[in-house]
Symmetry: C2
Subunit: 131 residues, 2 copies
């Protein structure tokens, strides 16, 4: 039965994070060896891998909790689809917002590169003198 360090390496989730997931009830309390150390079975390892993949996709832990419930449930595809779609839309919105920021920042830093002696255009922009 693998210890916490082994499933940490296998899943790519830090040991402390696994313990954190247990504390908040996202991972079940594992069996313990005689010496008190955590022993994980295949089911727990699979659950952790699932969480890891969902985190990589940017799902919040609350969403992952819901997805894990759906995973045991047949015919929950509609719910999963809704969750994933909402998440995708949130990502799209964030991309749009960041692109806007990037444009603004690029404009300012570029002006700055062109006029190296004048009053700093970045500071000026933030001061509101010429936004």
């Amino acid at each position: 039965m693998p210890a916490i360090g082994e499933i940490s390496v296998r899943s790519g989730v830090h040991v402390e994070t696994i313990r954190y997931y247990e504390r908040i009830g996202l991972m079940p309390k594992p069996a313990r060896a005689a010496n008190g150390r955590r022993c994980y079975d295949a089911k727990a390892a699979a659950r952790l891998a699932f969480i890891r993949r969902a985190r990589d996709l940017g799902f919040a832990l609350a969403d992952i909790r819901a997805l894990l419930l759906l995973a045991d449930n047949k015919a929950a595809c509609r719910d999963a689809h809704g969750l994933a779609t909402r998440h995708r839309d949130a990502i799209r919105a964030k991309i749009t917002e960041l692109k806007r920021l990037e444009r603004l920042l690029s404009g300012t830093t570029e002006r700055c590169a062109r006029t190296p002696a004048a009053p700093c255009p970045i500071i000026e922009a933030l001061t509101g003198n010429a936004l």
Copy 2:
């Protein structure tokens, strides 16, 4: 002398947030009226507006602290430029990462829409059966 509510409305920064900025030393401690209420002068209002604009551009408070120091300092343009450029690059990296996520999520949700009866492709993808 404007009270906290007024500069809150004028700057678009919540009252609690202004007090929070004061607590962490980002805003100076303002003068107080006889009744103990905060009174802000034009300089404080300008500083708050500066912070607000920098926050809108996604700068972290630590960066804003640095920018505010630079704002008083002539010939700090190079420093400001470096800070802004690093921030812009971080935003670009985040956009790239989010686009990758968006592609992955779009693929999965699309498969899900096409096969409404089969085992949910979203759950399958996260389970690792067919990533």
